[in-house]
Amino acid sequence: MVVSTHSKPPPPPTAVLADTDPRVLRRAHFFMRLSRAWDSRFEAMARVGRIGRWYSAVGNECTTVGTALALGANDSLSTVHRDLGAVLTTYLDPTRLAPALFEDGDQTAWDVLRPPPQALLDTLANQVFGRRGGFTRGVDRSFHYGLIKPEWGIRHVGMISHLGAMIPVAAGLALANVQDGTDRAVLGFIGEGATSQGDFHEALNLAGVMKLPLILVVENNRYAFSTPLSEQYACEKLSDRAPGYGIAGETVDGLDFDAVHAAMNRAIERARTGYGATLLECMLPRMRGHAEGDGSYEMIPAAEREEYLKQDPLVRFEASLLARGHADQQRVERVTATARDIIEDAVERALLTEEPSLAEATRPVFAPGEVATAFARQSTEVTGG
């Protein structure tokens, strides 16, 4: 880990949590399984052509859940296309969603703030299908939406397709926190491919200069569409870029829950106490292709593919749960089954919901006011439409 001495701050907090709190591990297990169950269901639908495209998050769960679990109410989250785990972790109160799996003391203050989990999950499923009941009611797809609900403690900004473009936006969320004098942090995700974009650079440089409470997690799954990392960058580790921005940088094994969670907790601590930003690279196995069935998976050498499939973070996480005695085989199975049932239900319900109303197509491009009114008065609203 490297920290800038440019503006000579005292050394940042580096304490590693000795062992992760079992309550955190229980949550983590549930959300990782929930994320995996969702992917399994959607991959199956993609295979039979029931949905057009699916970007699988299989292999990313330990990283997305392990980092997002360190957030508190009204921290911000900025996600891209493989961050379902972080979304679920940030949105849902697991103690209400799967009460049988959690103990009484497992509910947190933030959980209480959050809305009924089932409704939120249903909205998310609708969103992904582009249905009427989704966050954008069919106007945009999958994780291309934002959910900014301070009253729920949720500040989540989804993506646009242009990769890299959300990193400055995440920096802006962090800037607002600084302006407001809060200690709230921002967790953003990005693939290793998108680190080549200019926006990555401009945002992290700003974060360094302004000491913004931003944690950017690079999900390094070694491929960007078909492009291997040897054609993407030439540094040894992407966290080697952190010193160039005067921010903290770490590279961790994205399959090691404790390592990910501890690194994230260090980063959060730095963010909350004014030491600024962190670039946290998590090394992940490429367990799936770019999008299901687009031919990119076949570009990975077969032996390499097999190697990655063996590195399943869920297998490793559950083995460690069992080994450390935090769960028995029966609980592992119960969590898996419960997660699968919850997702199956949500998907089935979403599939039954209506298509969006056609009126959504021409819904306003402007928020209500003078401009919106003037826009609606134009003849192009009729003839061009």
Partner: protein, 324 residues
């Protein structure tokens, strides 16, 4: 009462809105202690401090993106591009991120991007451009270009208060050349409303910003020749105030569109298209445009002047149209 220049009107608007609303803040290169190259924010850093008058590093894309992030959680950023020409470096953030957010998420993006634009000062191809058409073609952006200190003040205040992204074009040539007396108080100019600056009956001129003043000069010249020219300052390009425009064109039956941007696919084309569609039956002559040739802006002042759509070219076009 003292006269206020265009640039002072901008500064007044920024200052008043920052006083009024703590969520308003400024971002840009060299805008803090230095006050920006045109001194639009002079004194505001001293008053409001480094969290509300933010010097950014030398970047545009990252600055637009950061402003968007802050706007999403309730701030009202006002971002200065050092010159409008540099906005192309932040183009993707504006057209794909900022412009599309409300339609997709129904989350308001209250944000102003100030663009000191235009030529006339021999500043060459990269400090003279008029980029409004790119943004007018992008759904979700309000594009405005006030031509007077009064409107610069009133529209900047309105833009800062509006819940939508506003591309705010300020002509550099007008900054210190245009001045007028402005009363105290909370002066607002509505967005989306054109202004009939001069009434007339024979030809309508549609223009904005610097060329509006050149158009007025040409109209005065034509008046001496017995031709009555109505001059409309569009002020807001998108959304367009069609009522005012169509009413005028239907009255005069002839229209000349004047702008500084290069002619092909400039915003004048859109005006011509709407008029050719909606005013066809009233037209007594071709819809004409006076604009910049399809060229970059040359550095040498004489070369630049030869391309600028100034009063002589407007006058000549008016004469032809009046005789048509």
């Amino acid at each position: 009462m003292a006269e206020t220049t265009y640039i002072d009107a901008i500064r007044r608007a920024l200052g008043e809105e920052m006083d009024r609303d703590a969520s308003v803040f400024l971002m840009g290169q060299d805008i803090a202690a230095f006050g920006g190259p045109f001194r639009a924010s002079r004194g505001l850093f001293e008053k409001h401090g480094r969290l509300r008058v933010i010097n950014t590093p030398l970047m545009e894309s990252g600055a637009v993106g950061a402003a968007l992030g802050a706007a999403l959680v309730g701030k009202r950023p006002v971002l200065e591009m050092q010159f409008a020409d540099f906005v192309s470096c932040g183009f993707n953030q504006i057209v794909n991120n900022v412009a599309k957010t409300y339609y997709r998420w129904e989350t308001p993006v209250p944000m102003v991007i100030r663009l000191p634009f235009g030529g006339g000062s021999g500043a060459g191809p990269f400090h003279s451009q008029s980029p409004e058409a790119w943004f007018a073609h992008t759904p979700g952006l309000c594009v405005v270009a006030p031509s007077t200190p009064r409107d610069a003040l009133g529209m900047l205040k309105a833009a800062i208060r509006d819940p939508n992204p506003v591309i705010f074009l300020e002509h550099r040539f007008l900054y210190r050349r245009e001045k007028e007396e402005l009363p105290a108080g909370d002066l607002l100019t509505p967005l989306g409303r054109a202004n009939i600056v001069r009434e007339g009956t024979d030809v309508t001129i549609l223009s904005w910003s610097w060329t509006l003043h050149e158009s007025l000069a040409a109209a005065a010249e034509l008046a001496r020749e017995g031709v009555s020219v109505e001059v409309i300052d569009l002020r807001t390009l998108t959304p367009l105030d069609e009522d005012t425009i169509f009413t005028s064109v239907r009255k005069t039956s002839k229209v000349l569109i004047v702008h500084e941007a290069t002619v092909t696919a400039g915003f004048g084309a859109e005006l011509a298209a709407r008029i050719a569609d909606q005013c066809f039956e009233w037209l007594d002559g071709p819809v004409r445009r006076v604009a910049y040739a399809d060229r970059p802006s040359p550095y040498n002042k004489k070369l630049e002047q030869s391309l600028l759509p100034g009063r002589e070219r407007i006058t000549a076009a008016l004469r032809k149209l009046a005789r048509y």
